[in-house]
Amino acid sequence: MIEVHSLSKSYRPGVHALADVSFTIEKGEFVFLTGPSGAGKSTLLRLLLRADRPTSGDIIVNGRNLARMSASQVQAYRRTVGTVFQDFKLIPRKTVYDNIALLPRLMGEPETQLRRRAVQALGEVGLAGREDDRPLTLSGGEQQRVSIARALVYDPTLLLADEPTGNLDPVLSLEVMSLFRAINARGTTVLVATHDRALIRHLGKRVITLEHGHVTETI
């Protein structure tokens, strides 16, 4: 599913955000990416999303080298990846439904089909009936669940989450992780970047540890 070969990223000469990182994630795996702040977790996720280009090395997702994609192919690739951010990144002026439906609607998905899928996604994250709410009227946990529903609506083959529980209390964090586990159980590959060791221990999944841009441990 994901093959990372000798990946390096430098923002300044001599300072490596990532250095010679290699690993493989199989299709349908649930993997945690962990390490202290500044270890390179977010950089790696940005590279996996092709939001940035590596200084050297290759990332191959579903057999396609991200470096060789054109701009339109990158956008098409991103639509196959569900992305969840620490700060949710919802559009406050739009309703929950519009936040979920905006992109598929622009891609020409019929409204009736789209509504059915959005309602289903909201049901999966426990927010059925909240379509017309505005994000700012929701709690942090609910906003994160909306962002997960937004990621689910395209039925992604890969889900990337960057510190998805960073703004949530332990109970809500466990709820979010349960959602990821359920998504993973449907066959979606899940990669979650977090520095929350307790959460990682609780779920007992495979862990890739980064420190100072290097992979130090793969369990």
Partner: protein, 295 residues
């Protein structure tokens, strides 16, 4: 495509409603630019009509001595017919000259009517060949005077040329002024749209990361630019129409009578459409430039 258009229109309308002050400023500047460009164009068209009319009238008028005979008229006519600087000539007898005077200057017709005899001489109206030089004209005048049948020669061409040159300079100045204002309007609208783009940068950055196509990112700003310039151009055309009506009511009849050009004309519908379309295209371009850089 329809979804993209609907989304762009919706987002552009929202953005215009949110930033209505800067939007109004942009519309006002665009309206000023289009108004000046349109006004220069309109004045230019009407001045061209006057110049064409002047060019069509006699450039050289040869007044024959009073009591001229048929022989003198034939001699002058023959000279004009054979001279290379002459395109055409038309004999206007004293009676015809008087009738024309009364027709063209009705206020003075009564005054002439009080005289015992017709004070106007017979004359030839002469049109010169395009490109005839001053030397050609001087040689013609000299030859005419040597016939002894000519009382006076009035030469309009030089005045016409100077008038034409002066108006050309004025017109060029007007177009340069219009171009400067159009340029400043483009800069203003691009800045206004760029500001709107930056205000929504967080939002567009997320949508871009989620895979939104660049056309959908830029679409709302392109449409916003088009809406602003469309509004500005429509305001300008309405103002032009009002200004044209007011000025025409004040001085139109005098100009028409003085030059015999008929009523002044407003911009043709084709030109109005071209002004509006050009403005809207400029708006689209400004929106594209403002949102060109990926978030």
């Amino acid at each position: 495509m329809i979804a993209l258009l609907r989304y762009s229109l919706g987002e552009a309308s929202l953005s215009l409603a949110r930033g209505w002050r800067s939007g109004l400023l942009a519309i006002a500047i665009i309206a000023a630019a289009v108004f000046i460009a349109g006004a220069v164009l309109m004045v230019s068209i009407n001045v061209d009509r006057i110049l064409e009319r002047l060019a069509a009238t006699a450039e050289l008028t040869i007044y024959l001595k009073p009591g001229d005979g048929e022989r003198d008229r034939t001699a002058v006519g023959a000279l004009l017919g054979s001279h290379p600087a002459v395109t055409s000539s038309n004999f206007v007898g004293a009676d015809a000259a008087l009738a024309r005077f009364k027709r063209e200057l009705p206020d003075l017709a009564a005054l002439v009517g009080t005289l015992d005899e017709n004070p106007l001489p017979s004359a030839f109206d002469v049109r010169l060949r395009d490109g005839a030089s001053d030397a050609d004209t001087r040689s013609l005048v000299q030859a005419l005077q040597q016939t002894g049948a000519v009382e006076d020669v009035r030469y309009d061409r030089r005045i016409f040329d100077r008038l034409s040159d002066g108006l050309r300079i004025l017109r060029q100045g007007g177009f340069i002024l219009a171009a400067i204002i159009v340029l400043s309007a483009i800069v203003t609208i691009t800045s206004v749209l760029r500001l709107a783009y930056l205000q929504r940068r967080d939002e567009t950055a997320v949508l871009f990361l989620l895979g939104m196509p660049p056309s959908a990112i830029r679409g709302p700003f392109v449409v916003e630019g088009m809406l602003q310039t469309l509004a500005g151009a429509l305001v300008a055309v309405l103002l032009l129409w009002a200004a044209f009506g007011a000025v025409n009511a004040q001085v139109g009849p005098e100009i028409s009578q003085a030059f015999g050009t008929g009523a002044a004309v407003f911009l043709s519908s084709g030109l109005v459409a071209a002004l509006i379309v050009a403005s809207v295209l400029v708006g689209a371009l400004a929106g594209l430039v403002a949102a060109w850089k990926e978030p």
